[in-house]
């Protein structure tokens, strides 16, 4: 199983004809899930991905390896939006969809930072553009003193931090605590957002929530926008 450092390919930055990036997708799944999947405690845990078509049709697919998950994501991304559950799930999920009760392991926290875009129902209280969202990332890193992993999602950013060790969720109480932790991570960004006058720019990613997969495409607009890791070698944002 490969680690993020194994993948050094540079994202194709040609926005006029973006294409799915298998290295990014592989890096995304490795970074998020490889340690948990290689853990002996993991047992029967699954990466659950979803595709949401432009007609809002949703379908789910589960994988027990990051390689398969990345290949499928890249393949599906040509025509549709691809998401992954933030957490790992049990094999027995109603209609294939992961929910809070089927969550087994959380490896990272994520907050969904949305900028204003022509494809949203309402842009009230949102940061004017993706560049403005980076100010929130800076605010956070300055205040909490650790660098985040940032994924560009097309019209926003995912701010993420991975745990040193995967968090196995043994019971309902542990799942509630993990969900609260996600809420607190979001709240930290909302505090900075409110200070900057963007009270609605941060969305919570719940424990059973979905995030877009790096290396895939956001098909909201035309042309589609790439979803990708976002930071250069010097640690500065592009």
């Amino acid at each position: 199983m490969s680690s993020p450092s194994d993948h050094t390919s540079v994202q194709n930055s040609n926005l006029s004809s973006p294409r799915a990036d298998s290295d990014q997708a592989q890096a995304h799944f490795n970074w998020l899930f490889s340690r948990a999947l290689s853990d002996r405690q993991s047992g029967d845990t699954w990466i659950v991905q979803a595709t949401i078509s432009l007609q809002r049709k949703i379908s789910f697919q589960a994988f027990d390896s990051t390689l398969d998950a990345a290949r499928w994501a890249v393949k599906e991304s040509i025509n549709t939006n691809v998401y992954t559950h933030l957490a790992l799930h049990t094999p027995d999920r109603p209609k294939g969809k992961g929910n809070t009760d089927t969550t087994l392991c959380l490896t990272a926290l994520a907050a969904d930072l949305d900028a204003a875009s022509p494809y949203r129902g309402s842009n009230a209280g949102k940061a004017p553009d993706v560049a403005s969202l980076r100010l929130l990332i800076c605010d956070f890193e300055e205040s909490y003193q650790f660098p985040l992993t940032v994924i560009e999602s097309g019209y926003g950013l995912y701010a993420m931090v991975r745990f040193r060790e995967p968090l196995w969720l043994e019971d309902k109480r542990a799942r509630k605590e993990a969900d609260d932790l996600l809420g607190r991570f979001t709240e930290a960004f909302r505090i900075f957002g409110r200070k900057r006058g963007w009270p609605n720019t941060v969305d919570r990613v719940p424990l059973a929530g979905l995030i877009r997969v790096a290396g895939t495409l956001n098909h909201k607009g035309n042309p589609p926008l790439p979803v990708r890791f976002s930071r250069n070698v010097n640690g500065d944002f592009r």
């Binding site: 540079v10 926290l109 745990f163 968090l167 932790l181 890791f229 070698v233």
Partner: protein, 421 residues
């Protein structure tokens, strides 16, 4: 480069410490209860307190070793709750208990839990321990300063110059009296009964200790004397029994009142028995000619066939009326006859007042009233004989001087004592 885009990994415990709380008021309530917030840390060594508690408290040591089959909740959390409760009762600080639980969870290879989990567990344990201590110590009474301010507002002043005054001040701080216009000025013991006096000059029959503990009789007597119908705020154990203790302590801090010696006590018992017998069976208000062998036989027969257990079922509804043994009776000659063992049985039942008194003591009391003790009286009817030992008063005996009719007698019957039954 993707590698450069990856941030550092952070310990989940560190994130738990850093990130803002979603329910800050709840955290603040915990901080107030625990006298500060907790930090999840891996203690290098358990405190000295641990080994002391481990030696002294078998429940604690068994919980630490996870060997408590008596605990309903056998999960790690259940054991943590047990450890936290014991440690909180032993007055460990919140951080000490937190360190204990973190060490225990690590020992048992338990999964991660954040501060909210430990705050919840500790909050429960500390809250219960505080409540337990409060109930044990002064649960039935308000704090002295609260009561003092209340007394000041009401224009009262309590001079706690001696033990009795201190006890009275404590009694008047009882939670059960909070907001009620009732302040006790004294409590005295008359025989086995206790009598209280309030600042408005009311004399309140509190009853025997058993009656006071049962509350209902005492409550009724207080309401009758003062018009204040008290109710127990919380559990009787926590808020009423300590008040009874103070009643007793005040009464015992001074001599028993002169009038209520054994003689008076016995008189009260006899009056209570006669009233109960005649209210249960109005026929018992008629005098008996004990010199008539047949009448004496029927009287003795009532003792033999009467169901002493029916005293115990006095209040049950829907039961057929039980025959009570007639153990106290007025004779046509104005004597009062008492069958002492049955009187003792009657007095020991709830309807008799739950009194614990020996037959010897009853006989002493009767002797003080000039009763002839344990005279064998045999009744005969149709060849059958029944004998019992009776204590018999002098003729023209007055159980309650100045009372007309005497307790247990029918007024009409009393008006014409010669009229046959």
């Amino acid at each position: 480069m993707i590698a450069a885009a990856i941030g550092i990994d952070v310990d989940v415990g560190h994130l738990d410490e850093l990130l803002p709380e979603l329910d800050q008021p709840r955290v603040e309530r915990f901080i107030e209860l625990a006298d500060g917030d907790i930090t999840i840390r891996r203690p290098l060594a358990l405190p000295n307190k641990f080994s002391a508690l481990f030696r002294q408290n078998p429940h604690f040591s068994l919980s630490w070793e996870r060997r408590r089959p008596d605990l309903r909740d056998q999960t790690l959390s259940g054991y943590e709750m047990s450890l936290a409760s014991i440690a909180a009762n032993a007055r460990w600080t919140a951080q000490e208990i937190c360190d204990l639980l973190v060490a225990f969870r690590e020992k048992e290879r338990g999964r991660w839990h954040g501060r909210s989990y430990f705050r919840t567990t500790l909050g429960k344990a500390l809250g219960q321990a505080a409540k337990h201590r409060r109930d044990q110590r002064e649960g039935a009474f308000q704090q002295a300063d609260e009561a003092a301010s209340e007394a000041k507002e009401e224009g009262h002043s309590s001079a706690e110059t001696d033990d009795k005054a201190k006890l009275l001040a404590k009694l008047n701080r009882a939670c059960i009296l909070q907001g009620r216009n009732l302040r006790f000025t004294d409590v005295k013991r008359r025989g086995s009964c206790y009598v209280a006096f309030d600042d408005l000059g009311h004399e309140i029959q509190l009853g025997t200790v058993r009656e006071m503990n049962a509350f209902v009789v005492t409550q009724a007597n207080i309401a009758e004397a003062t018009g204040i119908n008290l109710s127990i705020p919380g559990t009787k154990k926590a808020t009423w029994f300590p008040v009874v203790e103070v009643f007793i302590a005040i009464a015992h801090s001074q001599p028993i009142e002169f009038d209520y010696g054994l003689r008076e006590e016995t008189r009260i018992y006899l009056a209570r028995a006669l009233d109960a017998l005649t209210s249960h069976n109005p026929d018992y208000a008629q005098r008996v000619g004990i010199r008539n062998s047949e009448e004496l036989f029927l009287l003795n027969l009532s003792l033999r066939t009467g169901l002493r257990d029916s005293f115990l079922h006095y209040d049950l509804e829907g039961r057929a009326p039980k025959c009570w043994p007639r153990f106290v009776v007025w004779t046509k000659d104005g004597e009062l006859c008492v069958q002492v063992p049955m009187l003792q049985t009657f007095l020991s039942t709830p309807v008799g007042g739950n009194e614990r008194i020996s037959t010897d003591r009853l006989k002493q009391g009767l002797a003080m009233m000039q009763f002839a003790i344990d005279k064998v009286k045999t009744g005969q009817f149709q060849g059958q004989k029944i004998s019992y030992r009776w204590c018999i008063s002098p003729t023209a005996f007055a159980l309650d001087p100045g009372c007309d009719p005497q307790p247990g007698l029918n007024p009409e019957q009393d008006a014409d004592p010669e009229q046959p039954p």
